[in-house]
């Protein structure tokens, strides 16, 4: 399975991938593109990735989670240009018990943020562009307008 997609993500498709009549509970996380960041109005953004490593890390996260909880998981991350309100990432976890479904779903999205090599460039209403950098005090670092890595 491929976890990276340049097409809009389908929550229904991820739900269908983990649904199982022997398991009654499904927890889903959807991360949407927000219209603001650090007090600035965001118009759109662009995700890029070190694709083979990102695929490998997504796969490893799912394997780790399925070892840790009795769950079935699906994970998709969008790449390329996204508009405000579009889904950037979707995680679905099915389990017999809702506690396990919630815990595994939460753990997967935390790990995606922690270890998958994906980068985000935000375009603001004031015409500026920045790389999102969670390690910077402002959360962003100024970027050029041009090249799309």
């Amino acid at each position: 399975m491929t976890h990276l997609s340049r097409q809009p993500l389908s929550v229904e498709a991820l739900l269908a991938a983990v649904r199982d009549p022997s398991r009654g509970a499904v927890a889903i996380f959807v991360g949407d593109v927000r219209n603001h960041h650090g007090g600035r109005e965001v118009l759109r953004l662009e995700y890029s990735a070190y694709e083979p490593m990102a695929e490998k890390e997504c796969h490893a996260i799912i394997e780790d989670a399925e070892r840790r909880w009795p769950v079935s998981l699906a994970l998709a991350h969008r790449l390329g240009a996204l508009e405000v309100g579009e889904a950037a990432v979707v995680v679905a976890a099915s389990a017999s018990h809702r506690g396990e479904a919630f815990e595994a779903c939460r753990w997967v999205i935390d790990e995606v943020k922690r270890r998958v090599p994906i980068w985000k460039r935000e375009y603001y209403a004031d015409g500026t562009v920045a790389w999102v950098d969670p390690t910077a005090s402002s959360g962003v670092v100024a970027a050029g307008q041009g090249m799309a890595p």
Partner: protein, 76 residues
């Protein structure tokens, strides 16, 4: 060596070569790139990967290894 996102922007390329020498480490690659035009914007200790796995700066390199410099991750 593969460069991504802001690091590719700083160096003006997504892929470059660094002359290899015996005993070369990931840290040696980083130092060589920081000496390039635009390279002063790279941190001294960036996140790096060798063959799709995160690797410390002391990681020794073998011929054919794929080295990548990874800006702070921002997925999700």
């Amino acid at each position: 060596v593969l460069l991504f996102a802001r690091y590719a922007e700083l160096l003006g390329t997504e892929r470059t070569d660094v002359p290899s020498h015996p005993g070369m480490t990931v840290g040696d690659v980083v130092s060589a790139l920081r000496a390039r035009p635009g390279g002063s914007g790279l941190p001294a200790r960036p996140l790096c990967a060798v063959n799709l796995e995160q690797a410390p700066l002391g990681h020794p390199l073998a011929p054919g290894d794929e080295v990548a410099l990874l800006p702070p991750l921002a997925g999700g």
